[in-house]
């Protein structure tokens, strides 16, 4: 399932690539009581996809991706609760635009650095955003969070219902769009240059590639996607808490992506699904120790399966192929 991209790759959809969508639609019909968890999983899949684009493909290590997720969440929330803009499509577009702008502005600085300095700067950006949200209580509600978020019917037709059916399908639609966009990007010549930058930025410079500009482009694009995911969270929860900008979501999304498999496109699907279901289950069974379970899974994956869950499945498929 590791997708070869580049100039020799076949970019046509394989049948396995339809599986996530078949599962997602099946969940809608077969597990109606899990739709709110499902919407949450889908939101994080979109967030993880945005991270995979910068981390998995372009090789930008970030511990502050929640800055964009949280900005998106707050922009949608402030529009809805303070400014009376309840149209969900406008909220999403505004969130994406605001996050993209933040990505462009901070990326312009961050992407001039490398390694540890870059990591620290991403962390710093998220910390600054958190503190701004904490202090600007008039807009964000500060530590109390932002309530009173109202979201109108989608396209004036589909109201958010209490069973989470609309929210689930709305999230699904956006994840599908995000997946399709990311897939196009990674198969494109631009995507090939991103992989090239990850593999060897010295050589990319020496073949005349505008490395910094390429990184800034993908960082901005990824920020917009993360912002959209944040807006989805606001729309489905109808509440924004300060924790969307904290270190936790930045770290968690990284953990989810590593669990699923970095730089594999579908790792961004598997990771959040597994993580959030495990969280849901473990939190109910062991309310005090559930993070222990998550930690244990992560330790095992990092020790024994560097390619994440999808890496394991690749290895199994390869072994079966050799035997037969």
């Amino acid at each position: 399932m590791k997708h070869p991209v580049g100039y020799g790759a076949d970019a046509r959809l394989r049948w396995t690539e339809w599986l996530p969508w078949v599962v997602a639609v099946a969940v809608f019909f077969l597990l109606p009581e899990y739709l709110s968890l499902g919407a949450r999983v889908l939101t994080y899949i979109l967030f993880a996809l945005s991270l995979d684009l910068v981390l998995g493909y372009a090789g930008i290590v970030t511990l502050g991706h929640a800055a964009f997720f949280g900005t998106g969440a707050y922009v949608a929330g402030i529009l809805a609760a303070k400014l009376g803009v309840t149209d969900p499509v406008i909220q999403l577009l505004a969130s994406a635009a605001a996050a993209a702008l933040l990505g462009l502005a901070t990326g312009a600085v961050i992407l001039r650095t490398h390694g540890l300095a870059q990591l620290m700067l991403t962390l710093a950006v998220a910390a600054v955003c958190l503190e701004i949200a904490n202090k600007a209580t008039a807009l964000t509600g500060g530590a109390d969070g932002l309530s009173g978020v109202s979201v109108a019917a989608i396209f004036g037709q589909f109201k958010f219902d209490m069973y989470g059916r609309t929210a689930y399908l709305w999230c699904l639609l956006l994840v599908f769009t995000g997946w399709w966009l990311v897939r196009r990007v990674i198969y494109s010549p631009f995507g090939a240059t991103l992989t090239g930058i990850r593999e060897n930025s010295v050589r990319m410079h020496s073949i005349g590639a505008p490395v910094y500009q390429r990184l800034l482009t993908v960082y901005t694009l990824s920020a917009a996607m993360a912002g959209t995911a944040g807006a989805l969270l606001t729309q489905t929860n109808q509440f924004v808490g300060l924790n969307v900008l904290g270190f936790e979501p930045s770290g968690e999304i990284l953990v989810m992506l590593i669990l699923g498999g970095v730089g594999r496109l579908y790792g961004a699907f598997v990771g959040p699904l597994l993580f959030l279901i495990a969280q849901d289950y473990l939190a109910r069974q062991f309310p005090e120790y559930w993070y222990f379970g998550i930690g244990l899974i992560l330790v095992l994956v990092v020790l024994f399966a560097r390619g994440g869950i999808l890496g394991i499945s690749d290895a199994i498929i390869a072994r079966m192929g050799r035997k037969s």
């Binding site: 070869p4 991209v5 580049g6 100039y7 020799g8 790759a9 076949d10 970019a11 196009r184 990007v185 198969y187 494109s188 010549p189 631009f190 995507g191 090939a192 240059t193 992989t195 090239g196 593999e199 060897n200 010295v202 050589r203 990319m204 410079h205 020496s206 073949i207 005349g208 590639a209 505008p210 490395v211 390429r214």
Partner: protein
Amino acid sequence: MSAVLETRDLCKRFGALTVADNINFRLEAGAKHALIGPNGAGKTTFVNLLTGLLAPSSGTVMLGGQDVTLLPQSGRVKRGLGRTFQINTLFREMSVLDNVALGIAERLGLSGKLWRPAGHYAAVREEAMSLLDSLAIADQAARRVSDLPYGQQRLVEIAIALGLKPTVLLLDEPAAGVPSLETERILNALDSLPKTIAILIIEHDMDLVFRFADRITVLVQGEVLCEGAPQEIANDARVQSVYLGERRA
């Protein structure tokens, strides 16, 4: 003849250490020029100054008659400067084909495209394949470059630079660590390049240097010791004492 690449009083200092000391160098159009010198003479630093990987402390670099001292690497590549690295600098997890295609797409201005799949650009793939074919590694195109034997990786190293269709090609020890069979392939590939391309080769293998170059510059401790035709260099007493003598010892 006019110089396609020229440096004037080029200096590079790292603190108190001077690694390039007032280097005045001319590479004529179509020249096959070799840069030799003992270890630590500053040869690779000089190449890095030419390509823009390093910024000089003072002095100018002229490419095609224009001052490019302040131009970043990508700008110099667009003006026809291609290079290879002494230590393989490849896209290790990518296929051989992609390693070469990245540079070709960059030259053709296609690599910023982010909509159609890369595989759609058949012209890039075909050019990459014919280039690999000319180096006799077309059969390895689909393999991951890190899976190739070292000698073939050296060929990919050169193929990437050739894909840029440079007018000035800087080869930093292209044959380092390469078995003699593949050295032969490298030389053949260089021989079959258009005669208009100026090549500057840094090399320790003296057989290769004297076979390939029609002009040689000797660099010692960041300074140009002398420059001349191969026979002059071979007979130069200073070169023998500083460089060839040292190697014999």
